[in-house]
């Protein structure tokens, strides 16, 4: 999706601003810096399903959390969480209705953290095939989301994962079980590292009928197929790991406030 200036939702610099000035997006709407210095996290509110658990679990992980579907909130928070429950194609439609693809694309391009959960992970791939219906995803990663070839689906319950060396997300919980509920998954990873100097994405696998991708850590973009907000203490630790990786933008200095 292109993100030309015409469809840019970030407010323009004020008309009287000196030419060439760099406008800090943090001053242009979105969640206010947390007075306690916690990182701000917006949970993108774009469909139905249980988002209350995600909000509360992130708060417990140390973030100042807002549930919002407003682009300025989602763009400017220190971290954005993209939940996802339901069918791939439906989630994509609902996401488009709140300008989600552009918000996610802009954040990732700007190196600003995004955590996607469950179908949120799936739509980061190129396409999903459910009941023979093929739908395009965001294409951040190559691959297709397909039915898991297991005798019992949905894959529902607590499963183990195999996290790679150096994973920050799974630090301290590499050997724990996480709660999954899904019927579809990405069963191969064919990411071409275009720049040899770039750190390759870290892929965590699980298995149900076949090996499938349980999580990806790719610079600012992280995603889990399981529900960390429903994975008890192990999920809480994983969310804490993610929240701790966020850099809170500083609250305005008192001097600046006094001057204004």
């Amino acid at each position: 999706m292109s993100a030309g200036p015409a469809e840019d939702a970030l407010p323009e610099a004020p008309a009287d601003a000196p030419a060439g000035i760099v406008v800090d997006p943090h001053t242009l709407g979105g969640p206010a810096p947390d007075p306690e210095g916690r990182p701000t996290v917006v949970v993108l509110d774009y469909g139905s399903g249980n988002v209350r658990s995600a909000v509360r679990a992130l708060e417990r992980a140390g973030a100042a959390v807002t549930l919002s579907s407003r682009a300025e909130d989602a763009l400017n928070a220190d971290g954005l969480v993209v939940p996802g429950v339901g069918a791939f194609a439906t989630v994509m439609e609902e996401l488009k209705a709140v300008d989600g693809p552009r918000i996610i694309g802009r954040r990732v391009a700007g190196g600003r953290p995004v955590l996607a959960i469950c179908v949120g992970l799936q739509i980061m791939f190129e396409r999903g095939i459910e009941h023979g219906v093929e739908a395009d995803g965001l294409g951040e990663w190559p691959g297709t989301v397909e039915l898991l070839p297991a005798p019992v689906v949905p894959h529902m319950g607590w499963n183990t994962v195999s996290a790679p060396e150096g994973s920050r997300l799974f630090e301290g919980v590499e050997d724990e079980r996480f709660y999954f509920v899904h019927s579809y998954g990405v069963q191969s990873w064919e990411f071409e590292v275009a720049q040899p100097k770039m750190a390759p994405p870290l892929v965590t696998w699980s298995e149900h009928g076949a090996r499938f991708i349980a999580a990806v850590e790719n610079g600012p973009l992280c995603a889990t197929q399981f529900h960390p907000e429903k994975s008890g203490d192990a999920g809480a630790r994983l969310l804490r790991n993610w929240v701790r990786s966020l850099r809170p933008h500083p609250a305005p200095r008192p001097a600046a406030e006094a001057a204004s």
Binding site: S48, N50, R52, R56, A87, P151, P154, G157, W158, G235
Partner: protein, 257 residues
């Protein structure tokens, strides 16, 4: 690497209170579902199920309040059943913080409601609860089991296996199978019933009814259950009953969390 067998305590909730209470030592309010949810989470429960038995719809708000408070404090999956008739109730439950809704009588009365709910929210949110018993008297069904309503007191003449299969085809993500014959006996699960349903559906199967001791659980899993649900055994047994049940399952060679 494989998914663990889930052990699920079930709480009957009436107007915001747990029916009959629960025998946990040192628990100040054994009738508070949120306090119990905490306790079961700490004791190793893999999921929780609330069955709302509130008779009057005017008190149904108390259930939503319980769901909301539980979801804000307990971070394992929560299923809520009782009074679920359609998309509207499921939507409300999910927004309050439930992960799944279970449906029983309303789906028997109008099976299309399964398609409506699962089209809207996905299969994974809907659990079909089936109260099944061996046919009695003049009734006969191909499987020998029929679906009942009103807590097992009324037969419907509907074949339990055919109903489970139809519901799975319509989109339910899971089946909670309660044996009316075994329920309350404490003599073990109805393994024949579990095998029949397992053979008919590919969605996860939760077995319920009849458990009295931890050793009753592994045969239910051998018969095809992916998860096990019990109420009084956890409520009135020793505080570490969930751990005992998991140990029995693990000793039989099945993975647990």
């Amino acid at each position: 690497m494989s998914v663990a067998v889930r052990v699920i305590p079930c709480l009957d909730v009436d107007a915001g209170r747990v029916v009959k209470g629960v025998n946990f030592q040192d628990l100040r309010d054994a009738g508070d579902p949120v306090a119990l949810a905490h306790r079961y989470d700490a004791a190793g429960a893999d999921e929780l199920t609330f069955l709302d038995v509130t008779a009057s719809s005017s008190e149904r708000e108390t259930t939503f309040d319980v769901v909301r408070r539980t979801a804000e404090e307990v971070f394992i999956p929560l299923t809520v059943g009782g009074g679920v008739r359609g998309v509207a109730e499921v939507d409300r439950l999910l927004r309050e913080g439930a992960d799944k809704a279970s449906i029983n009588t309303a789906a028997i009365a109008r099976p299309d409601v399964i398609d409506e709910i699962t089209r809207h929210f996905g299969s994974q949110v809907l659990v079909l609860s089936v109260d099944a018993r061996r046919v009695q008297g003049d009734t006969s069904t191909p499987s020998g089991f029929e679906v009942t309503t009103h807590g097992g007191r009324r037969g419907t003449g509907i074949d339990a296996v055919a109903w489970a299969k139809e519901a799975a085809d319509r989109g339910v993500g899971e089946i909670l199978l309660n044996s009316i014959d075994a329920d309350g006996t404490k003599e073990g699960f109805d393994l024949e019933l579990i095998r029949l349903i397992r053979g008919a559906v590919t969605v996860p199967l939760i077995a319920s009814g009849g458990a009295g001791v931890p050793e009753h659980f592994p045969p239910a899993i051998e018969a095809g259950a992916d998860a096990v649900l019990a109420a009084s055994m956890f409520h009135f047994g020793p505080d570490d009953m969930i751990a005992q049940v998991k140990a029995a399952i693990r000793d039989a060679g099945f993975p647990v969390r």
